[in-house]
Symmetry: C2
Subunit: 498 residues, 2 copies
Amino acid sequence: MKSNFEKLLKITNKIADLHYANSLLSWDQECYMPSKGSRYRAQQMATLSGLAHELSTSQEYEDLLKRCNEDKNLNSIEKRNVELLLKDYEKAKKLSTEFVQRLSIATSRAFQAWIGARRSNDFKAFVPELENMLSIQKEKAEIYGYEEHIYNALINDYEEGAKVSDLDILFSQVSSKLKPLMDKIASSKQVEDGFMYQNFAKDAQWNYGIEILKQLGYDMEAGRQDISEHPFSTSFSPEDVRVTTRVNENNLYDMLWSCIHEGGHALYEQGLSAEQYGLPCGSAVSLGIHESQSRFYENNIGRSFAFWQLNFDKLKNTFPQQLAKVDLQKFYEAVNIVKPSLIRTDADELSYHFHIMIRYELEKKMLEGSLQVKELKDAWNAAYKEYLNVDVPSDKEGVLQDVHWSHGGFGYFPTYSLGSFYAAQFEAKMKQDIPSFEEDIQANDFTKILSWLRGNIHQHGRFYNSEELCKNATGEGLNFDYFLKYSEEKYKKIYQFS
Amino acid sequence: MKSNFEKLLKITNKIADLHYANSLLSWDQECYMPSKGSRYRAQQMATLSGLAHELSTSQEYEDLLKRCNEDKNLNSIEKRNVELLLKDYEKAKKLSTEFVQRLSIATSRAFQAWIGARRSNDFKAFVPELENMLSIQKEKAEIYGYEEHIYNALINDYEEGAKVSDLDILFSQVSSKLKPLMDKIASSKQVEDGFMYQNFAKDAQWNYGIEILKQLGYDMEAGRQDISEHPFSTSFSPEDVRVTTRVNENNLYDMLWSCIHEGGHALYEQGLSAEQYGLPCGSAVSLGIHESQSRFYENNIGRSFAFWQLNFDKLKNTFPQQLAKVDLQKFYEAVNIVKPSLIRTDADELSYHFHIMIRYELEKKMLEGSLQVKELKDAWNAAYKEYLNVDVPSDKEGVLQDVHWSHGGFGYFPTYSLGSFYAAQFEAKMKQDIPSFEEDIQANDFTKILSWLRGNIHQHGRFYNSEELCKNATGEGLNFDYFLKYSEEKYKKIYQFS
């Protein structure tokens, strides 16, 4: 006779199968689907989601979860899986079908309004739907319940356990400690990166990117890269984890670092336990930790001097004409240029966190009620002037640039910054644990680094939460000082100040 | 309040969504999936099939079907949909879950055994599993029930209404009327096609194939072509119908005609009614009719003199060196070379039907019990000697060449020949209905031809059965003489006999 846990596994496997099948439909939609395919593709995806939802809210599933939760014979991983599944179930159950449908309608209306407003470059056209979305998000927070601050209820969907009280401290450090660093950079020497904007043949860029992915340890037998409008990574099991990139023939930055960034996400997913398929212990722990993996590879590795020791020669061989007058030092400086600008996704490693801080502060105020949606644009523009000293010339390049709020993603943005901060902290510990850290990178040998990440992060899935994972791996909880120290040391050398 | 028919549509849509999602998973598996992805892909596909099966055998579905069947307010298309859905349902219900599972296990075992036997080139290793498969197929035929001949029960799954009594007459004509034609060809002039086996760059072949597909009217906004090991076409709705091809750098036949053949299948699927999504009137009527579309384009169009009037120049421009010494007549003769050989899938337009006839006779005898599985190899080799005058040097090139029997596809093969015979009959009528038939093809204008097929075949789905469709379109049921006449006229000219 089958145990309750085995019966439970049958359901979690089915839910995962539907979820991953849907991810493939979505991947295909972004990469290959012909335009007329969209009508029935949308319907097919809705059907698979609906069936997954039915299974994961069924009485049978609840009963099994409760019986497993009382089962004394489960091992520690099984126990943790049941505990988290039950928690997820109880959280999902709080939202009524009526609410979920209302949220889904509001999301699709807000998204359409955002598209239209962006096209006409007119924030006002987005206001009514954003107001509606905000009010639904507030309602969701009240249904979930929270301590201290309404924001805590929402960020919990992306970064379990994150709190406004901690985030406020983090971002106050961005402001108080990163701002002076930015100011020093601004008044130091100029870095030149014009050569990154020449013509670089698509195929050559593509092949170079593939080689980099392989170097980093991305398993091409359990993944592949394709082209899509916006780069992303997705997975259909830890044994089929895909990345996408885009290639801009007139900009060498675009493909190369999006490829390394998505590669970092994919290495995490490939490192999850395939035996824990569909279970919390086989799933990524949080968006912040996920982003720590992509940013570690993108910035700590991909923008390091060591990484380009061998790779720059290869790049020069690939584009001999374009890079004829560029040496390693010049290239290294260019890929680390710090230049406050308008668009988050184009931002450098440092000013990036001001983009995030601005969004965090604004969405927090909107949720608190101290900022009205109709005042958002002015507040946005003022914040960009204050923190990045740039004038916002249009809504499209300002408050309308990100899709997140139209999707209902309030509380999502901070996870991007958390990712960088975790990455710096992990790197500091890795340098202690792997004495050959620098030399390994110089030699394009990423075996030990990947194995550190596999052992400390990837393999655990959600067995530990983010904070525990960070403590186990580094001996302490998230500490902004690592990112500050990393940044100071790096940019002091590049911009030559003391 | 929703009508029963609307409620029924909700279920048929869900079943179709699951079915088409599964087709995408399968397409991806053939075209893009990395090797390690296979384990969970198999599980995901089994889950989607299982859910579709649950829906299509549910009590709710049966009740709705029966209520709709008594509904006097349905229009003729709705009525026909309900009638066919009910028929399919009742047929499927005859097979018990126990039987379906047994069949599924037998299929996967027979398939594995076939793979192994093929690898070791040893038919004996396949015998036990093929015997098991044959006995299950006999059992299935008995469960379905049949008139006249056990074979009729099985072919019905692929070609509704087809009967041994008709097929026997058809294939006796292959033997009595096509054989003399083949003999004449064999004793006439030699056709030379060595130039088709030079080096033809992959990209150039690919681009040429895409242009041909577009010419024929394949809608690239509702489809795309990719590479797979074995060419196939598949669809996820009439608005997303894809083809695949393979490109052999040392053989110009391979890509070009597989591309046109799959294009013919795809034109049929693109011509089905998108509004009848998931319903019988939005589905292809039979494998024979499906094959008539692919073979019409592949042979009647793609191997016609008219088709190459303009296209040969384009081909010469694409491969100027390789085709320098080839003129249109020589090329036309080469692509119509008749040369009895061992492998069905490489066979020419005429000897192809002997390959089919041999399989038809053998599987019929096995089902009747007049041929034992263990005698199959000798019977196969004898038949090839008798009908095609070739000696079979190995099981791999003989009785083990096709996957069909290992998949349980008894009764499947004749649909390939039916396709060619229908195609010839349709072409004869088209020539009457479209006076500019030849000139249109010469000018690469396929508008009227496609519109004839859309109006007479594609748009009807399963509203009419194959026989009705053929009668409505051509004024009579399937008549082998059209194929004979088409063949005689064509090959007389090429091989210059009277």
